[in-house]
């Protein structure tokens, strides 16, 4: 089929070029109907051509682009900046994909993700477009045929309703000359989704044998289906003028169908209830999420095996190797889609976590004789349930910190010209693909000098290094483990549980935390979080008989050096990596586990960056894996230095380590 592909490449490039010109012209002059029309046709034709090959991401993106242009053509949507941008992005991606096809014969690996992003951007303006579906111009029909049909097929109807399905009736009367047009009503019937009953009748009484014209269609077709009216009509869209549908609503004894324009009521639902929703026990969703997590792990294992098989089989049986690879790619895509879908189910408003905070803040303030106003915004922003739940502890700690150390006593505030009541703002909003949660107070702020002093007193870093830090960097020292007083642990009072626990908790959710402060004016802590539970890539390392995970992000590189090149350095050890001396610690020591004797080669993961790099010695490496990290409940359970756990394919629990927390 390379003739087709060659032609596609030529035409595709031209169509993309045409569409780009049209869109740019349209941006300059939104009233230019000719350009709009031309852009639509170019996108439509390109979409049609793409459909000849198996290029799903491209096809779906172009389909969305076509729908968007169609909405503009129909006057349902204006040609705004957002619309043009989304369309140009889509065309740009199409051009890149065409070139990739020309070079390699396939789309690049990031095509599905990129396609999804384009689709979302293209469909977003359409969501606000109400009434997108033109109602079919069908003369209101008397539904007595549907009543008779439902009565004649009562057992099938009852069975479907008992199973919680909606039942739709459809009557199809093909035109008498439809065979000459090439229509085959039987073929349409074979494609009807979820049919549960079928009846065939005659429009005119059947003539006796001699007079019959086999090519004049005399059929009247009536059927019942549980597929839903929209899907059913879709199957008959080419003969939409020859069909009528009616919903068969469930009710006690005589089944009375609603008229063709009403929605079928939800089985067992109260009349007038619109959409369908279900109450689901949260534990079931968690179980589903666990399964998805396991599936992701399993699909990783599969990918690894397939790669091995393809490598070995590739020459002997390339077709099988390719088929295997394609099948595995299909499973990957499905697994990803499943992950996203289940995550979608778990999306919860942040209000769930925010709701309990005002009272706790009021209590804490009262205890300390302060007045505090807590302003919460954006509690309707949604995120994955794990993230929403996981934020409660860190937020509570931050708020208590603000009340305790941030907001000054009333006299001090008066003296500084501030209102007597301290103001704390907890705000959430979407930021790009993630969520931003900010805790800001108008208190005394953080004094860099005091932080430096405390850091020196706790010996966190060499004094000279501390002095060398700028004020803003010095303030970030509060996130270092060991900054807070060691007596930590049980209560969530303002003392004891340090900012490093907040950092670890937020990072375990896949997020980042940062702090900005102006002495005398207040502090703002920003938490940047992903919307959904993140899949984390971890480097697997062996220690003794166990395997641990180190987040890939935390590991700069791995290295193997001969044992002889380890040098003593003060109380510890070091080695030279590309002309710099890097300290070396043993993971066994960090975790307080027995170490194994060193062999000839020393294996290590280098964490940190620049001058703060440290080599962490391990017994060996066991590859990489994508895992769903489960943060630890509460800030303080488990070993210090543990970011979370993940379930491995073999059912074992993997401990994922918090490197900054361990190394300090």
């Amino acid at each position: 089929m390379s003739e087709l592909l060659e032609q596609f490449l030529i035409e595709g490039r031209e169509l993309a070029q045409q569409a780009t010109e049209d869109l740019l012209a349209l941006e300059r002059d939104p009233a230019d109907a000719a350009r709009l029309d031309s852009a639509f046709r170019a996108v439509h034709t390109l979409k049609g051509s793409v459909a000849l090959f198996d290029l799903q991401p491209m096809q779906r993106a172009l389909h969305a682009a076509e729908d968007l242009l169609d909405a503009v053509r129909a006057g349902r949507l204006g040609v705004g900046r957002g619309v043009i941008d989304a369309l140009l992005d889509c065309i740009g991606a199409s051009e890149a994909w065409i070139e990739a096809l020309a070079r390699t014969g396939t789309l690049p690996a990031d095509a599905p993700g990129r396609g999804r992003g384009l689709e979302e951007a293209l469909r977003a303006p359409l969501q606000e477009d109400s009434g997108a579906q033109p109602a079919s111009a069908e003369p209101p029909s008397d539904a007595s045929w549907a009543i008779a049909l439902a009565a004649a097929e009562a057992p099938a109807v009852a069975a479907a309703h008992a199973a919680g399905q909606e039942v739709t009736a459809l009557r199809y009367v093909p035109a008498a000359d439809c065979f000459f047009l090439g229509d085959d009503p039987m073929a349409l019937l074979r494609a009807v989704p979820e049919m549960i009953a079928l009846r065939l009748g005659a429009r005119q009484p059947w003539p006796d044998g001699a007079a019959m014209d086999p090519f004049a269609c005399n059929l009247v077709i009536e059927l019942l289906s549980t597929a839903g009216e929209a899907e059913l009509r879709q199957a008959f869209r080419f003969v939409a003028d020859q069909i009528a549908t009616a919903a068969i609503a469930p009710s006690a004894p005589a089944s009375a169908p609603a008229s063709a324009s009403e929605e079928a009521s939800a089985p067992g639902g109260a009349p007038g209830l619109g959409g369908r929703s279900l109450r689901v026990d949260a534990a079931r969703i968690d179980a589903l999420m666990d399964l998805v997590g396991e599936m992701i792990v399993a699909k990783n294992g599969l990918a690894h095996l397939v790669a091995q098989v393809v490598a070995q089989l590739g020459e002997a049986d390339p077709r099988l190797a390719r088929a295997l690879g394609e099948s595995q790619a299909g499973i990957e895509a499905l697994a990803e889609q499943m992950h996203r879908t289940v995550l979608g189910v778990r999306m919860t408003p942040l209000a769930r976590s925010f709701n309990r905070l005002p009272r706790l803040v009021r209590d804490a303030a009262a205890e300390l004789g302060k007045t505090v106003v807590l302003d919460i915004r954006g509690e309707a922003v949604e995120a994955d349930k794990a993230i929403v739940d996981g934020l409660f502890d860190p937020l509570l700690h931050l708020l208590r910190n603000a009340v305790d150390h941030g907001i000054e006593p009333p006299e001090a505030r008066a003296g500084a010209g501030k209102p007597a009541a301290g103001r704390i703002t907890l705000e959430a909003r979407r930021e790009g693909e993630g969520i931003l949660v900010e805790v800001a107070d108008d208190g005394r702020g953080i004094d860099p000098a005091r932080i430096r002093q405390a850091a020196k007193a706790r010996g966190l870093m060499p004094e000279a290094a501390i002095d060398a830090l700028g004020d803003e960097e010095a303030v970030q020292l509060v996130f270092r483990p060991g900054f807070s007083t060691a007596s930590a642990v049980t209560s969530l009072s303002g003392r004891g549980v340090g900012m490093d626990a907040v950092r670890a908790a937020v990072e375990a959710l896949g997020g980042r935390v940062s702090l900005a402060s102006r002495p005398g004016a207040g502090s703002t802590i920003r938490l940047l979080l992903p919307q959904g539970a993140a899949v984390t890539t971890v480097l697997l390392v062996r220690l003794g008989g166990e395997v641990f995970g180190l987040p890939s992000d935390a590991v700069a590189e791995t290295a193997r050096i001969p044992a002889g090149r380890i040098l003593p350095l003060r109380q510890g050890e070091a080695f030279v990596l590309r002309d710099r001396t890097v300290p070396l610690v043993r993971l066994s020591a960090l975790l307080d586990l027995p170490g194994t004797p060193r062999g000839e080669m020393v294996r290590m993961a280098v964490v940190g960056s620049g001058a703060a790099r440290v080599g962490v010695e391990v017994d060996g490496f066991a590859g990489r894996a994508d895992v769903l990290l489960r943060p630890l409940p509460g800030l303080l359970s488990g070993m210090p230095g543990l970011l979370g756990t993940a379930l491995m394919g073999d059912g074992q629990v993997l401990m994922v380590l918090d490197m900054p927390g361990l190394i300090g």
Binding site: L4, R41, G182, F238
Partner: protein
């Protein structure tokens, strides 16, 4: 004289695809092509075209407008409209000129019904 089918589409790629599908169904049919409505009308006026397959979405006169013109000249010529999106008014217009819809992308299976019906109609002797 062999049955001659005219394939009208502004995309050469689409014409190739339709041509292959028709060839698979009716190897004996002769295929001629046009890339827009004007070319199509000229070719039909030159004579000998028995069946026409028209892309809906073309610049200038679209497939349905062309079908209407062809229908006026040839009341019984089997006409197919190739399209991906079908809206109700489009269906109504097609029905009004007695044209068949064939979904894009064009395949053998998708064309089979139209080709059968066209054969039937041509056999009935009316051109």
């Amino acid at each position: 004289m062999a049955t001659t089918v005219l394939i009208v589409d502004d995309s050469k790629l689409a014409r190739i695809v339709a041509g292959k599908a028709i060839q698979a169904l009716e190897p004996g049919w002769e295929r001629v092509e046009a890339s827009n409505a004007d070319e199509a009308l000229a070719r039909v006026a030159a004579g000998g075209v028995d069946v026409a397959v028209l892309d809906f979405n073309m610049p200038g006169k679209d497939g349905l407008a062309l079908a209407a013109e062809l229908r006026a000249l040839h009341p019984s010529m089997p006409l197919a409209i190739i399209t991906a999106n079908v809206q109700d008014e489009v269906i109504a217009r097609a029905r009004a000129v007695n044209a068949t819809f064939v979904a894009k992308p064009v395949t053998e299976e998708g064309l089979r019904g139209f080709v059968s019906g066209a054969t039937l109609r041509l056999r009935a002797g009316v051109r």
